[in-house]
Amino acid sequence: MGEAKPVGGEPDWAGLMARAQGGDAAAYRALLAGVAPYLRKMAARYHRERQDAEDAVQDILLTIHAVRQTYDPQRPFKPWLVAVAKRRIADRLRVQMRRRFRETILTPEHETFAAPETNLYREESDGRELREAIAQLPEGQRRAVVLLKLEEKSLKEASAASGLSVATLKVSTHRAMKSLRKILEKKAGTL
């Protein structure tokens, strides 16, 4: 049951399909398993990726399933099969082409949308530059920036934490800002 009966060396796909139309699941399984390698060869001609070709084969098998009532056993099976397969492959290629036409693979540099979250990469690199610049500051200035700007302490809290006077912290911060501007400008100039 269900084995493809060779007729003149060719498997009897038409006969299997006729039985499948009548509800013979074993004949149907034999038919689909029989045509799959043939379809795979056909799909491989149009798809470079093996997975793509395999998807095409599955797509064709699903289509065969959906339109199996349109096969007329009086007519040869292969032209029917090839017509269904070619149509499906052409549809897939059209969709792929359209997708390729519309879509561009994004790298982080492409993230230039208005929402701030989409620009995280850029901010990250700004942050890196800034951190490097802060590291270059003299000890006093660096401490003032870290306490007041990065840790966002008030002058009073910073003074308590560092033991420095408020006036010293103010002067250090002012100088630190000036130095940072200089360092970053120099860096931007060399880019």
Binding site: L32, A33, A36, T63, Q69, D72, R87
Partner: protein
Amino acid sequence: MTTTSDLIASLAADLRPVQRLRPPFARACLWLGGLFLGVALVTWATGAWPLMAARLADTRFAVEMLATVLTGIAGVIAAFFLSLPDRSRFWFILPAPPLVLWLASSGYGCYRNWLSAGADGWQLGRSSDCLVFIVSLSIPLAVALYFALRRMAAMLDPLRVMAAGGLGVAGLAAATLQFYHPFDVTVVDLAFHVVAVLIVVAAMMMAGPAVLARKRSDA
């Protein structure tokens, strides 16, 4: 990710017996027969036949009417054949000869009308009514054609099927219009008829693939 052998197993497990389709020509004839019966009944009930019989005495009109009906029939038959994957795509040109004859005979009618009526031949008759008639009669016909084609594999070649089917439906609607349009066409009328047919064909080509694609996902 389903492997192909899994897919085959599940398709085979899902297999239900299907009823084979009758040959496309027989299906097309059945569809057309039903439509002709309906049109015959309506035109008979509305008393449109005596006038039609009188107009058919004019050879030019008889040719135009015949060409219009043939365009409709050929378009519908072509749609049925094109809905099967293994039938020749050349069925698509079946409606072309009657379409050319239809346009030529109508065009000749316009020309004659212009000769006899002079500038009046250019008048805008009740053309916009014709357009509305053709388009609105085409809608139920198109729906009926969709139901006839939906078990076939029309979604494999939707544009061609819909173009042929649209032409067929519009041709049949235009032929039915002749029962209620008892005057020879002017150039403007002809233009409106052509526009109406183009609207129907374009609408079916645009709407058809989407409708048929939905059908496929149901299957």
